[in-house]
Symmetry: C2
Subunit: 150 residues, 2 copies
């Protein structure tokens, strides 16, 4: 058993310049209503970090339900974030794929030991997410989501 | 109802320079055996086209089972292909997300009408796939897979 069960994939995440325009295109393609956009919680709640430094990013997001996975679409703001950095380097594209974990500490230890340091971290109601700098080894960033059992 | 049911997402496709190295990393991360690599069928079978012209590409692929979706990893060869073009422009990264369709003709018509022309086409035993030039509108290439009922 590895550090991540591949079957827990839960998210494909796209970064784009213009959230509203992209969301409109997917809603049309899928024939579903446009999902409501929301923002990353403010810094006091999200504790967002990019490359180890706190960030005030309040990027905008919208999410389409695709079954086992969601398509998360993010439009960065001007504050430092993994999304902004990716967009500036690559233009619109898929930023990461995300998996659930039951043991965040073990996941962080594994990625760090394998030269994939923490790139971006943030919290939301009910959980947290960690994006690892895995592009060189895994071809894309990988995110690990942890939601403590109540 | 749109032209594609988002719930039929079936594939996240990564393009990389070194298939064996990347496959090794994912196998380790997931704790599963390395899937066997295979090649795109030869031109007489695959009828591969890139931007409307036949291509002899025999790109190498390997596939991880992630539940509803597979992670398809492709290493292009020197023949023209959407994968080679993407790799040269972007380096390793996610090339497309794929959805099943019951009506390929309707899908092609929709994408073409919405300024997303066919970019790459190919056949495999039991079906065919069409990649559309949708990066500008959908942030990534979208692939539609069609497998005629027997």
């Amino acid at each position: 058993m590895g550090i991540i069960d591949g079957k827990t994939i839960c998210q494909v995440a796209l970064v784009v310049k213009d959230l509203d325009k992209t969301v409109e295109e997917y809603a049309k393609l899928f024939g579903v209503p446009k999902p409501e956009a929301f923002r990353v919680p403010e810094e006091s709640v999200a504790h967002t970090q990019f490359k180890g430094a706190p960030s005030k990013t309040r990027a905008r997001l919208a999410v389409f339900d695709l079954g086992q996975v969601v398509l998360e679409i993010t439009e960065p703001d001007e504050e430092p974030s993994s999304w902004k950095d990716f967009l500036e380097k690559n233009g619109d594209g898929i930023h990461h794929i995300a998996f659930m974990t039951d043991d965040r500490d073990a996941a962080v230890k594994y990625f760090e030991k394998n030269d994939m340091p923490v790139r971006h971290y943030g919290e939301y109601e009910g959980g947290n997410y960690t994006v690892f700098d895995s592009k060189e080894k895994l071809g894309t960033f990988v995110q690990v989501k942890y939601e403590p059992k109540k």
